[in-house]
Symmetry: C2
């Protein structure tokens, strides 16, 4: 009876949902539209008053209709603007559709393989967060596979992708295996020598150790790897990072300007100038820790 | 009786305190050490489990022992590293001592006038947040005046300060008059032509209009003014801004490297490289809105 009552309250009346990270919490007010457990995780769809419909996985904020561009633009464009070609792009995760949407802005892009482990994330994103993926869901260049990203990279032939984008949740549950050496080694193997790799690499404050270890691991494998820092108000501490890697040279530092100019008007945060400045703007203590 | 009980709970047991900004909240767990109303505002000292002792003014997070460098370094060093001289520095607000501490790292600095309106902010910061101000409180170069900053700038003679730093709370209550034309015009008048002005200019997300209007107002008065963006996890949205202004040229873009090198090892975020990159890394939509 108590559960029934709680459920009723949560679906009818406004209330707060918080993501807890130890002794810090970030809450949004609104109401729950749907909650379900899949084989992989708990999915919550929340209608927030501030950011529109939002997605939580295992009680952590993942994305929201009105607070997602800061994350998706920063993950995608530094990679896609600087890879030599855009014939084949791989997205691991990204079931909300935002990463695919940013990739599909490039006319010259031929094909995206989007590998999402949980079918329900895609189905519910299409239904409740349609503003994020939008027409991208119908783009014929988008090949969605409901599969495990770890196996996918293991089973792909060498030098296949022009860009690889890891759009994962935090390193626990289904995303745990996306933060380890074997996985990155496979990404390196299947990336073309002129390609660019990109991954979300967590908060340098809330998850400092994972953040630093991950960058160092990627750098060891790819030779060139550097983080970018930015703000994602929905995520723990609001201070977020993405790491870019390449093989022949630090290609991600040199966006192709004619390609960039075609899409920069559509962006809220990213621009080639923002990208250049952000790679310079390395916080002093992180710069020191990454040199160790 | 209920109040007594609540008070007891809040001082003895861990509980959450949140800053509310409409339908978003940021909470820390811990317990209240002290709460009092002054003539100007409500002051709360909170022992947070995550960030150490923290200060709230009128229920908004102001600073915390372990989460303040990101704010103070970014407010101070781009100004103090690029002003021609450092004979006289003015801080308006800054009662927690963090801004003064960063300023006093410069040996060549001769004198700081710190103008704080609320005596109790300083007294309680010395008592509960001593880690922030530390030995700066005893530095003979620091001249503390418990006065209204608006009158102070009005009554100062022309071309007096080498750097002016506005370390205010949000534009309401006692800080309201620090976000208007007359105040900035007086700052312009009392700044030396070779000096640099600096102000915290709010979150570009939570307070977008105030943020943009303030930068434009400062730019109109000083001729040269540009914002820097960074992360302050304790503040609304975690995405924060500081605006720097100067008269003869955009002096704040060119830190004096020999001066910078003397202090950069003591900093967690700021470095001359970070400063240069951050002025470039202007988010695309804010760049467009600031050009209008």
């Amino acid at each position: 009876m108590k559960n029934f009552y709680n459920n009723y309250i949560q679906r009818i009346f406004n209330h707060w949902i918080d993501e807890y990270q130890g002794n810090v919490r970030l809450g949004l007010k609104g109401r729950i539209l749907l909650e379900e457990k899949t084989k992989f995780q708990k999915i919550t769809i929340f209608k927030s008053n501030h950011y529109g419909n939002a997605l939580l996985l295992d009680n952590c904020w993942m994305t929201a209709e009105l607070q997602e561009k800061q994350y998706h633009e920063c993950l995608v464009h530094p990679a896609l603007c600087s890879a030599e070609k855009l014939d084949n792009v791989l997205i691991i995760g990204g079931g909300d559709g935002g990463t695919a949407r940013e990739c599909l802005k490039y006319d010259e892009l031929e094909k995206i393989d989007l590998i999402e482990i949980d079918r329900r994330v895609i189905e519910l994103s299409k239904q409740y967060l349609y503003k994020i993926g939008g027409e991208s869901w119908n783009d014929k260049r988008l090949n969605i596979q409901i599969k495990d990203g770890i196996s996918w990279v293991k089973n792909t032939t060498n030098n296949y992708y022009d860009a690889i984008i890891i759009d994962s949740s935090d390193p626990k549950g289904p995303a745990k295996g996306l933060f380890n050496k074997e996985f990155y080694e496979n990404c390196y193997r299947i990336l073309k020598p002129s390609g660019v790799f990109s991954a979300q690499t967590e908060s340098p404050e809330t998850f400092e150790k994972i953040h630093l270890d991950t960058i160092k691991m990627i750098r060891n494998i790819f030779k060139y790897a550097d983080p970018l820092y930015g703000s994602v108000p929905l995520y723990p501490s609001g201070w977020w990072s993405w790491t870019f890697a390449s093989i022949e040279k630090p290609r991600y530092k040199y966006p192709n300007l004619s390609r960039a100019n075609k899409i920069s008007k559509t962006c809220e945060i990213w621009s080639p100038k923002w990208q250049k400045g952000s790679f310079e703007a390395l916080p002093a203590n992180l710069e020191r820790k990454l040199q160790k």
